[in-house]
Amino acid sequence: MVEDIVAGIIAIGAGIAIGSAAFATAWAQKTIGAAAVGAAAENDKMFGRGLVYMVIPETIVLFGLVIAFMLIQKM
């Protein structure tokens, strides 16, 4: 019984970890993406740079993934 509750709380924790990380990534990418498209519209050469800046925050969600994974392992 207690183990079930512990497992449930771990699962919720894992969910919060990846969910909030994904939200943060999306937020960061939203801002950068809008600016990058604007820059690329003015200068084609900015496309590659823009893409690079745009994908930088993606690492945040991976931190969430790793933490979630480590939590799930504890279940």
């Binding site: 740079r49 893409l51 994908v55 991976l62 392992q73």
Partner: protein, 680 residues
């Protein structure tokens, strides 16, 4: 292969009498990158060159030719011929031919425009006459009365109008259109005109003005339609003539346009040189490898009248970049250009990119079915866009990535379209479809890693970290090599980072102890076993426990050593890079994440689709087949897109940041890429 071609700055000085010939020679050599001369106000003697005298004439011909090509709608992408013309063929009577073409095109286009205008006028007239066609009154009878007012137009509520009208007076004549439209012509004494005008809006009246002219409208329309037909035939004929003309002359127009463009390019070249009253100076970059050839040709052809001197590259100079790679690798240079053109001192990562990009992509997709689809799709893409350099390159990447996805699918994951060939033997309980269970035959392709199991995910994460550490290590090595000369401090800091990287990887290895133990198990019988189990593994595993976490001594030593090296070489600020490399290493877990996410999506769709197919109901079965195909296509499209973006991102962000500077100038030789003509 790993460095751009070595360049030499070369200055060519000569007499203006030899200018034209020099330009001709440099253009034919196709290996000289000219530096534009920027005029300096302080030097009165040296000025910017002026275009050759023939430049403006040629430009004018070119202008005419291009406007004709536009009028004829000649499509340069889709030429109607394949044989190339020689330059002397094109040159012959070029001015006469261009004038001829101009006259013919002008007269044809003018005729076409005249006919089209005429047709438009006829259409206008017909639409004006049309409302009156149903009323048998000649047009001239609508006008010219002293005491009668005439109203023409549509009346929505005709019955009300007539009854109200009869209340005003009975001295009127009303004609209704006989073709069911509510077109009305009312002739009424001018005395009642005012009252009628008040009444009309109440009955939904829209005025239609009587067109100019005479005669019965219906007859006029008939006549107009006949002449319209005649004109349309004429128009068709003119259009055909234009098409014929285009067919006959496209070859000449395209090839002479090319010829003239080359001439203009040569004639305007002096604008890029420095000149004095009697001499010229060409400042250019030439690959060291080709320098001797250029020198020989120039000296032989101009008889030693040119002064040529070459200089070593100076530190502050930024020579253009000319990469040198075999053809399959050269296609990947495009990915570098999207990021930023490599500069002269950069290491050329195209070769690494051409190997690792498809490798990462293949690992993320890892499926025989999608691999084959990718290859087919890439092949079609390449064929379809063979004219566009960028798009055909992307087609090539898709093909190579497909090959790798196929290999990973066959040897590592053992699955096709998200379905394993053999059922999973791990504990789970519920039935999972596999190709073997569905087809009823045993397909002997094992899955070494099951994407959908927790253990599989752990294995994939460890593989990702190993791949990441090797990739980052290579990037750091490149960084050390490229910075060792002009920025030794940074090069040393990168050595420190390599130590930190080793420390990090070891912690992760110890954490994934059990997984790696499984991989090493087959080695237990081999000759390396004593070395591994007696020395390497114990030495890695020796360490201090922090709660559950084991920190190996080697990690502590490497980490401390690396940090000290970084601190000594770049100061406290360099420690940011320690954090950066940690996040970069974790960033590679996306390889596992995408792989599993895509696998899970395909798995979920398969459970839905195949469940329907094997349900036994025919209707459900058909729905299942359609659903499965659609959902597989979705997985394929989404998976390939995200795998492509993530694979390139791992290069752009994690890998390139370690050594790649970019912002180079592309080597653009003084030449023209011929499509329709040849030099001979």
């Amino acid at each position: 292969m790993f460095r751009p071609r070595e360049m030499k700055r070369t200055v060519i000085i000569g007499s203006k009498n030899d200018l034209e010939k020099t330009i001709e020679l440099l253009h034919s050599l196709e290996i000289v990158h000219i530096n534009d001369y920027v005029s300096d106000d302080k030097e009165d003697e040296v000025r910017l060159g002026t275009p050759m005298t023939q430049a403006s004439d040629i430009s004018q011909y070119l202008l005419k030719l291009r406007s004709n090509a536009q009028l004829l709608e000649i499509d340069a992408e889709n030429p109607l011929f394949s044989a190339k013309m020689t330059e002397s063929q094109v040159k012959k009577d070029i001015d006469l031919k261009i004038r001829d073409i101009e006259l013919s095109v002008l007269s044809l286009v003018e005729t076409r425009a005249r006919i089209e205008e005429h047709l438009k006028k006829i259409d206008d007239r017909i639409s004006q006459l049309k409302p009156f066609a149903g009323i048998d009154i000649p047009l001239e009878k609508y006008r010219g009365y002293e005491s009668i007012a005439v109203f023409t137009g549509y009346v929505r509520d005709l019955e009300k109008f007539e009854s109200e009208l009869s209340k005003i007076t009975d001295e009127f004549d009303i004609f209704c259109s006989n073709d069911n439209e509510q077109m009305v012509a009312l002739f009424i004494s001018k005395i009642f005109a005012e009252k009628v005008m008040k009444l009309l809006p109440e009955c939904g009246y829209t005025e239609v003005k009587v067109p100019e002219g005479k005669g019965l409208p219906e007859q006029s329309i008939k006549k107009l339609i006949i002449s319209k037909q005649e004109l349309s035939e004429k128009l068709e004929q003119t259009k055909n003539e234009l098409l014929e003309f285009r067919k006959r002359n496209a070859e000449f127009i395209l090839s002479s346009e090319e010829y003239l463009s080359i001439q203009v390019q040569k004639a305007e070249a002096p604008v890029r040189f420095a000149t004095t009253d009697h001499s010229f100076v060409i400042d250019c970059w030439i690959p060291s490898h080709d320098l001797k050839r250029v020198r020989d040709v120039l000296e032989r052809e101009i008889d030693g009248a040119l002064y040529i001197e070459e200089f070593e590259v100076k530190h502050e100079e930024n020579p253009p970049t000319l990469l040198e790679n075999p053809k399959p690798v050269r296609r990947f240079e495009f990915l570098l250009d999207i990021y930023s053109t490599p500069n002269y001192r950069d290491i050329d990562p195209s070769f690494v990119l051409s190997l690792i990009f498809p490798l990462f992509f293949g690992l993320m997709i890892g499926d025989i079915g999608y691999g084959i689809l990718l290859m087919v799709f890439g092949f079609i893409f390449m064929k379809k866009f063979k004219d566009s350099e960028g798009l055909s390159n992307i087609g090539w990447y898709i093909i190579v990535a497909g090959i790798f996805a196929f290999i990973f699918g066959l040897f590592l994951f053992g699955d096709m379209f998200g379905l394993a060939f053999q059922s999973s033997t791990a504990e789970g309980g519920h039935t999972i479809y596999s190709w073997s269970s569905l087809l009823g035959i045993n397909i002997p392709i094992p899955s070494l890693i099951h994407k959908m199991e927790a253990f599989g995910l752990t294995q994939l994460l460890v593989i990702s970290i190993i791949a990441g550490s090797l990739h980052l290590g290579l990037g750091l090595l490149f960084g050390i090599v490229s910075e060792r000369k002009h920025n030794p401090k940074h090069a040393v800091a990168k050595i420190g980072l390599i130590f930190v990287l080793i420390a990090l990887v070891l912690i992760i290895f110890v954490m994934a102890d059990w997984t790696i133990g499984q991989w090493l198990a087959p080695l237990k019988q081999s000759v390396v076993a004593p070395l591994l189990w007696n020395y390497i593994i114990p030495s890695v595993k020796a360490g201090i426990y922090f709660g559950d976490l084991l920190i190996p001594y080697i990690t502590i030593i490497c980490g401390a050593l690396g940090t000290v090296i970084i601190l000594l070489s770049t100061g406290g600020f360099g420690l940011v890079e320690v954090l950066e490399i940690t996040s970069h290493l974790i960033s590679y877990t996306r390889l596992a994440a995408i792989c599993v996410a895509k696998g899970a999506m395909a798995f979920a769709f398969n459970v839905i689709g195949i469940g329907l197919i094997v349900s036994g109901n025919i209707v459900l079965g058909i729905v299942g087949v359609i659903l499965t195909v659609l959902m597989q296509l979705i997985v394929f499209a989404l998976g390939s897109l995200s795998a492509g973006i993530q694979a390139i991102r791992l290069h752009y962000v994690e890998f390139f940041m370690k050594f790649y500077k970019g912002e180079g100038v592309k080597f653009t030789p003084f030449k023209y890429v011929r499509k329709y003509t040849t030099n001979e």
